[in-house]
């Protein structure tokens, strides 16, 4: 039965998020007026979310190759060779817009989407990490979002059976109207059994597998490519609804079907659903595809071709099977009680031909869909930024009680313990978790080998705000340093770039600078970027989020029995501080929490020093010399030491003297890159000294572990002496008290 469709007009196109220029471009590409269904295809695939039209020109600057790289950007996820015939597959993606509209399902389907990106490559997911940003947790609306997002992640990840092993949660008022939900997933696959989203072989059958299609999430990709106003909640119908149980069945069925050899290519139906898969898969193979929509399993009645193509119903995949092996595919999916229906065929001509009940409803050149417009829009540094950066934080008053300042800092929501969230996540299923949340990096063993993987996510948005290029480079440095502190060699990186509207020159400038910063650091540290995601339009009523590039890093630990964690293990160990003295209170956590100010220049970053410090830490861990290693990040040296004292199974104090001139708060809480605290057993101190001398890095002994207090003296005369109990209770309650 033909369905009455709206007339195609420029106004209709605008309503779907297309510009007048893009509307004209469609006419040129087709040589005629598009049908309503075709207009829907273009609007989804040319959305910022799918086409990266504002970002592509910048993303080309990222280094994406390396000897270990098996798959770089452009597929569902990146893949890196880790030896012994294994590859690690990983990617991070955002689900910011849906999570603001409906936090539980928004976050849950964010987890579901990234899990599928991993197992569509043939890999079994082994870890999830979440990088979350929210507004001030004293705001009840923000608490509602935090609780919803955390329970959504918990519900989906736990039911699916993939452990959540890391991530961060940070707070800043700029996220009040736009929380960020970035989820990274890591999986393992045999290096010669990686699957890709390709449509090879003319005449091969195209199967739709998994959940049935409903009307949920239609135009989700378009929604995610626009800013919000005060009516954002009206977008709720564009948020998808997840079913982790079906996802688990889909995982098992896909891996089992892949093992039969009948599957040639496969892709997750994520953003823009069937429309995306039916154009991207042939685009990668230079083929075309014809599909009959009435064959698509449906859970709602009278769905139109437009709805069937653009639905973002969850837990679905499109796969291309070898002709003659159709029954193998059907048998496996039947075993897991999932639909597997042939909906189309790979064809020679590079066209997407869509029929509905035999009637042709779309015929579009694949290239036209898959190669969306690309823009090189103007960029401009915001005029006010130089003044913000020129601010001297040392004009702010110095606190009279530095110990109290430390307790207040470590009890601030961003630095405080996130156990309230992590205890809601299964952290162990799969029994690979050697180090669970609470150290610089999570560590997972690779069963059947001596190796382990270390994974960490990071992104300090305040630093990026004040200096996008250096701040983003510092994010790469911090995440790789975290992995190095566990003893692992960083081998690959994924990023999630969360910004405001790229149509504003100052936002696009932030973006361009941040990409350059990531590129600089990745080149210097020899870590390729193998995948990622750009999320623009994170603004509500004109208020953009802080520019927030989040990076996720995977490292390989050659010997899983030689790893380090961040906490002190015993009394009497010597404490070393590796790295330069240069720190700054500019854009620091301390200046923000104490003075409510985001201003001042960042400390200098020397990527050569960063590389050598990380190599030195890894060498110390590999030699069994480091009983603890912890990087100095937000809150500076004092917070790093405090965390090493209290985050282990038993609290262990420290007595430290820092030979650094300058104000006490600068020495204690100043932030700077390339700094790591390492603990060493006294009998091995000489060996450690020799190793450090070889490493050609600045370093020195600063004290000893022991007692039940953290004591820090600076040569400038400042003294901090705080009981661990006081630090511990501030740290434990700092976030949780808002959620209780």
């Amino acid at each position: 039965m033909p369905v009455a469709e709206p007339k195609v007009t420029l106004d209709l196109a605008r309503g779907l998020g297309l510009t007048a220029d893009e509307y004209d471009r469609i006419f040129k590409q087709l040589g005629r007026e598009p049908s309503y269904t075709e207009l829907g295809l273009f609007s989804a695939l040319w959305s910022e979310h799918c086409a990266y039209k504002h970002s592509r020109v910048f993303l080309k600057r990222l280094p994406t190759t390396g000897v270990r790289v098996l798959q770089g950007p452009g597929e569902n996820a990146g893949a890196i060779d880790i030896g012994d015939g294994w590859a690690v597959v990983f990617k991070m993606e955002s689900h910011n817009h849906p999570s603001f509209i409906e936090p539980f399902q928004g976050a849950a389907t964010g987890v579901g989407g990234i899990l599928r990106d991993i197992f569509t490559m043939g890999a079994r997911p082994i870890a999830i990490l979440d990088s979350l940003r929210f507004g001030d947790p004293t705001d009840p609306k923000v608490r509602h979002l935090v609780a919803g997002v955390v329970s959504g992640i918990s519900w989906y990840g736990n039911c699916f059976g993939c452990p959540t092993v890391g991530g961060e949660i940070a707070f800043a008022p700029e996220y009040t109207g736009n929380p960020l939900v970035n989820v990274m997933c890591v999986g393992l696959v045999r290096a010669d059994k990686i699957f890709r989203g390709r449509a090879e072989g003319v005449g091969n059958p195209v199967f739709y597998v998994g959940n049935k299609t409903g009307r949920d999430g239609i135009h989700g990709a378009t929604m995610a490519s626009a800013t919000f106003d005060d009516k954002a909640h009206e977008q709720r119908p564009t948020v998808q609804v997840g079913d982790p149980f079906t996802e688990k069945l889909l995982l098992e069925a896909c891996l089992e079907a892949m093992a039969t050899g009948a599957v040639l290519g496969i892709q997750d139906m994520g953003a823009a659903g069937l429309a995306c898969c039916t154009s991207e898969m042939p685009a990668r193979s230079g083929t075309g595809m014809e599909v009959e929509l009435s064959a698509v399993p449906q859970r709602e009645e009278a769905m139109t071709p437009y709805e069937l193509l653009l639905s973002e119903s969850q837990e679905r995949m499109l796969l291309v099977a070898a002709r003659g092996r159709e029954d193998d595919v059907r048998r496996v999916f039947a075993k897991w009680e999932l639909d597997a229906v042939q909906v189309g065929t790979v064809i020679r001509d590079p066209e997407l031909i869509v029929r509905h009940q035999g009637r042709e409803v779309a015929r579009v050149p694949i290239d036209a869909l898959a190669e969306g417009p690309r823009y090189e829009k103007p960029i401009a540094e915001p005029a006010w930024l130089a003044d913000r950066r020129a601010f001297d934080p040392l004009t702010l008053p110095e606190p009279s009680d530095l110990g109290a300042a430390l307790v207040a800092l470590i009890g601030s929501p961003t630095l405080a313990s996130k156990e309230w969230a992590f205890r809601q996540y299964d952290q162990q299923v799969g029994i690979n978790s050697l180090v669970t949340p609470g150290s610089d990096a999570a560590v997972l063993r690779v069963k059947g080998t001596r190796r382990a993987l270390a994974v960490a996510t990071d992104g300090n948005a305040r630093q990026v705000f004040i200096d996008p290029r250096r701040g983003a480079a510092m994010a790469v440095c911090e995440a790789t340093r975290n992995v190095s502190c566990a003893g692992a060699l960083p081998v690959g990186l994924t990023d999630c770039l969360n910004f405001g509207s790229p149509e504003r020159p100052e936002i696009l400038w932030q973006f361009a600078e941040a990409v350059d910063g990531i590129a600089d650091a990745c080149r210097a540290l020899q870590v390729p970027v193998v995948g990622g995601n750009v999320s623009f339009y994170n603004e509500t009523s004109g208020q953009a989020v802080l520019p927030t590039p989040v990076v996720g890093v995977v490292g390989v630990l050659e010997d899983a029995s030689r790893l380090a964690t961040q906490w002190f293990k015993d009394q009497g160990h010597r404490i070393a501080l590796l790295g330069p003295d240069d720190v700054s209170l500019g854009a620091s956590e301390y200046v923000w929490t104490r003075h409510g100010k985001l201003a001042g220049a960042l400390a200098p970053l020397d990527l050569g020093t960063e590389r050598r410090v990380q190599a030195a830490v890894r060498a110390a861990v590999a030699a069994g010399l480091a009983t603890a290693a912890h990087d100095c990040a937000e809150g500076g040296l004092a917070v790093a030491l405090a965390e090493s004292c209290i985050t282990g199974p038993a609290s262990i104090g420290a007595d430290v003297s820092v030979e650094a001139q300058g104000r006490g708060d600068l020495v204690l809480f100043g932030e700077g890159p390339s700094r790591v605290v390492v603990a060493v057993e006294p009998p091995r101190a000489r060996e450690f000294e020799a190793l450090m001398a070889e490493s050609a890095i600045p370093w020195r002994w600063i004290g000893t572990t022991g007692g039940d207090r953290l004591v820090i003296r600076t040569s400038g005369g400042a003294v901090v002496s705080v009981g661990l109990g006081e630090i511990d209770s501030a740290w434990r309650s700092g976030f949780e008290r808002h959620m209780a």
Binding site: Q424, Q428, R445
Partner: protein, 237 residues
Amino acid sequence: MKFGVVVFPGTWSDCDFHHVVSEVLHQPVKYVWHRERDLGDVDCIILPGGFSYGDYLRAGAVAGRSPVVDAIRDFAAKGGLVLGSCNGFQILCEAGMLPGALQRNECLQYRCQSTHLVVDNVETPFTRGLRAGQVLTMPISHGEGKYYADAPTLAQLRAGKRIVFRYATPEGEVTRAANPNGSLENIAGIVNEAGNVLGMMPHPERAAETVVGGTDGLLMFQSLLGSLVEDGTFLKR
């Protein structure tokens, strides 16, 4: 000793139990699909954790009525050993093979954390190698683990010494603060009347290797193996 690990749609601790039995205990082990009506040649059936059938309706409700459970009921009636952990415990209760029910955690949130269990009964094949009052450390990971039974049932459990594990402090004291989910009487694990069917919410398979969660869970498996090697009473029964 031959093990069978039951796989329902949505089970996820199956691979972990399989790994521990084959790689740590070096015992033969096979997966048993939920549609099986014949368990084959096994001495011990493990019902692992997960979200069988999505835990729709109630946790374990659908799995508790699946074909394989009929076979397991017959197997247990003949004295076969059955260990249900996490979702496996919920399934055993839903199937009526153990009394009581597992309700939503008192905190209304999922909880994944380390717990301490005091061993109350060392007369079962699963705990025979342990000392009464011994404290084991094992993680829990569940949203619905609050054990509930009516007063007469609880009295029967107590009288029959069928409470095997209770949540406790590291020193073995059974306190309210040590109870992670609000279970009545801090109950973490119980056995059936014959003692050959054990249900517990904690995950022994996650505490079977030094590098991941310690080896207190392994003690249970070793107990199980030892009891059969020493005397075959539980198999012969």
